[in-house]
Amino acid sequence: MEAREARMDSAFDHGLAVPQVRGKLRRRLVPGLLRARAILYGILAIILVIAFTLAVSVVFLRIKGAGDLLITLWPAYAFVLAGYLATRGFKDRKLWAFGLAMTVGVLLAGLGVALVLGVMGVSGGDGNKAFAVVLLGLIFVGFGLPLTWSLTGSRRWFTELRGAEGPAIRTADVLEQEVTVADLVIHPGAVPAVAMTVAPTVAMTEGERHGNVDPLVSVRGLKKHFPIVGGLLRRQIGTIYAVDGVDFDIYPGEVFSLVGESGCGKTTLGRTLLQLTPPTDGRVVFNGLELEDVDPDDMRPLRRKMQIIFQDPFGSLNPRMPVSDIIGEGLFAQGITNRAERDKRVEDSLEIVGLRRDYTRRFPHEFSGGQRQRIGVARALALNPDFVVCDEPVSALDVSIQSQVLNLLLDLKRDLNLTYLFISHNLSVVEYFSDRIGVMYLGKIAEEGTVEELYRNPRHPYTVALLSAIPDPDPRKRRKRLVLKGDVPSPAAPPSGCRFHTRCWLRERLGNPEQCSTVEPVLRVLDDTGHRAACHFAEEINEAVVQETAATQSVLETAVAG
């Protein structure tokens, strides 16, 4: 009894147990320190610039008079101005932004040389002074660039620039979803306290249902927000709440799937979970190891264990690399530097995914879509991972090829003891492929449960609509669908209360209860199977209600909420 109570205490509103942590993997330096270091270097660099300029002007060029000295200091002005503008623009004040600012300053200084040279030459000014200024400028371009490069950790700057982060959001993307700039700055309403006090009705923990095994992956309160930058100075004008507080566990050997419409945050969640992009908030525990603010560079020991297969078999392979390098890259990074050994591992993994061993010298364009996806699978498996995120692995493939790749993934899972996070928008594939499913809507999980529960007994109006939208290849089953209104709202301005309320058919049916638009529903446990849904009125949903709603719906109204 006491143990049970302790468990109740530890269970949050999401009804999941506190993950067991055996160790931590964290950034070597906390970001605050990093930032402080960068700023310190920056100030030092500016002082150096000024001192150096003054020294050269006074001692070697014998320039006197405050006015003249102020002119010779122009590279320093450019430096400071550029640095200021650049850090203003990069709101999340990344180290690389600072490095970039420094370099931009130096380059501006170089540009200034040409300008001053021109002005002085034309006005017939003092040739000596002009020479001094030009010289100074050149010195800065020559020495300043390597200096700032090494001072501000440009290596990291480049890895981040190259796209660990990616140009996730451009203003245009957001505007396309019909949001005005005014919408963007509104923060989603704070969750009223009432919502949090709903007691979890956990009779059995998820762990117990899985035979008292610890989860392989635990995610708690995971968030990933992207700044929306716009305007000349690239200021932050809003936030995309791509993943906004997600909790779930994945148990060893299972297939956990994420479904939802495009833009609901599936891919971001997968990438954040793997620390391919740093989370804004929340915890990820992998096999008892807490991943806290891990730098992509520091993930190397874990990369081996956690892999990803990307969505697009055409875009995710480097077209200029032969297969041996595409697959071998990861092996090399893991310290397998012996060419012969690496080649053997590459050939082995090709064989595992059903390709010929002698394909290693070929380039991606020599393969069909299905074969390329196999190469992507081989690349992920070459390192013997335990956990693989499969991000829409079959979406770009034709039906006849799709089943080949799905079979391959299932065989490998069985033979190599893998655990999958499977991301897809195809609900028929997900139903066939998964053990448990999380339905995502606007950065949150709307419903979670076993395949049987979720498909037979959906308890969130959104899940009901998704299931109703699946086109069934059996013409005898033609039926009236339950069609949702409008488009998915922009993740930059999620609706207040329940995020789904702007499109919810159940809310309408119940006469628009106020709760829906004011109180954010908790993802609460509904029964013994661990079925969870984030809807105040989950109990109101049943087959009869769904059919009746579908029958009385008008097709033309369905666009109105857009």
Partner: protein, 368 residues
């Protein structure tokens, strides 16, 4: 090359009055660096007024080229249309028609919706201008009236506050909205034929459901015929009366939606249906069509599906199969199994198909 049993009516004479669109022995080629691609290779079918026809096939099977040829939207060259190809629309042969006459038909009587609505809308004009221009051109009415007509047609496809929407540009709308606008444009002149090429492929499932429901209700209301091109057997099952299955530029099976999807008789269609994942197959492997679609430059000599076909025998490697009649109705399949030579093998093949289709259905679900 192959004799087509479906060849409708004598060549040169118009089809029956109730037939809106009739395609006869249509061949479209592309001349490319590596040689000639027979993108559409001898295709014949007909579509009655007010009826719906679906064309399914995987990428590269020639679905889109068929539609573009019918609408005469291909650039010639690089494309060329084979001798003896005929397309009869509303009692007239349109492949031999002067282009300006064809243009009149294209806006008035036949309209087309494409996969990616953004590429087919002009980014620098407002939605209203684009619809109104089309209406003006084809219905010969004044600018004001044309704009009213544009607003009306946006209303028809369920776009909220159309008066405001007509002033917007395509990029200011979501994918679903743009597809609605395309449908509005296509319908603004009340066409007799609507060709929709993968109208929902770029959209999310819930938006796909909106658009399909919309297409269905408008098609029923206006009584126009619908030619729907898709790779999704589910969409076909939901939307059309008759189905054509294409593989490497040829029709491999044709019949009513019930015949083709419930009693497929071509091994390719059978394989496609077997490979669809379903809940009953959980815990088991999916049955898959082995190999890949052949390159258009290196097609198998006789039956093009032969290298992938589980029922192939010697004859399939030497004699190209015709579209053979299956049963008594209009159900056709391009396969030797439906000739006297293959009759002995047919029961076994059908049995294997049934087993593959039900794979895992008898097993307990789960396996995890």
């Amino acid at each position: 090359m192959t004799e087509v049993l479906a060849a409708p009516g004598p060549v040169g004479a118009p089809p029956d009055r109730d037939v809106l669109l009739e395609v006869r022995s249509l061949r479209t080629y592309f001349k490319v660096l590596d040689g000639i691609v027979p993108a559409v290779d001898d295709i014949s079918f007909s579509l009655k007024r007010g009826q719906t026809l679906g064309i399914v096939g995987e990428s590269g099977s020639g679905k889109s080229v068929t539609a573009l040829t019918i609408m005469r939207l291909l650039d010639i060259p690089p494309a060329s249309i084979g001798d003896g190809s005929e397309v009869w629309f509303d009692g007239r042969e349109i492949l031999s028609m002067p282009l300006d006459e064809m243009r009149k038909i294209r806006g008035n009587d036949a309209a087309m919706i494409f996969q990616e609505p953004l590429t087919s809308l002009n980014p620098v004009f407002t939605i209203g201008d684009q619809i109104a221009e089309q209406v003006e051109l084809h219905l010969k009415i004044k600018k004001r009236a044309a704009m009213d007509r544009a607003i009306e047609s946006l209303q028809l496809v369920g776009i909220p506050s159309p008066e405001r929407r007509v002033k917007q540009y395509p990029h200011e709308m979501s994918g679903g909205m743009r597809q609605r606008v395309m449908i509005a444009m296509a319908l603004s002149c009340e066409p007799k034929l609507l060709i929709a090429d993968e109208p929902t492929t770029a959209l999310d499932v819930t938006i796909q459901a909106q658009i399909l429901e919309l297409l269905k209700s408008i098609q029923q209301r206006t009584g126009s015929a619908l030619l729907l091109i898709t790779h999704d057997l589910g969409v076909v099952a939901e939307m059309v009366d008759n189905v054509i299955v294409m593989y490497t530029g040829q029709i491999v099976e044709q019949g009513t939606v019930h015949e083709v999807l419930l009693e497929p008789r071509d091994p390719y269609t059978m394989g496609l249906l077997e490979s669809i994942p379903s809940v009953e197959k959980r815990g088991g492997r999916l049955s898959a069509i082995k190999g890949v679609v052949p390159s258009p430059f290196n097609l198998p000599p006789a039956c093009r599906f032969e290298p992938r076909c589980p029922y192939a025998w010697d004859r399939c490697r030497t004699v190209p199969p015709d579209l053979n009649r299956v049963g008594s109705g209009g159900h056709l399949a391009r396969c030797h199994l439906h000739t006297s030579e293959g009759a002995g093998r047919l029961p076994d093949a059908l049995q294997r198909h049934r087993t593959a289709l039900n794979l895992g259905r008898t097993l307990p679900t789960g396996g995890h």
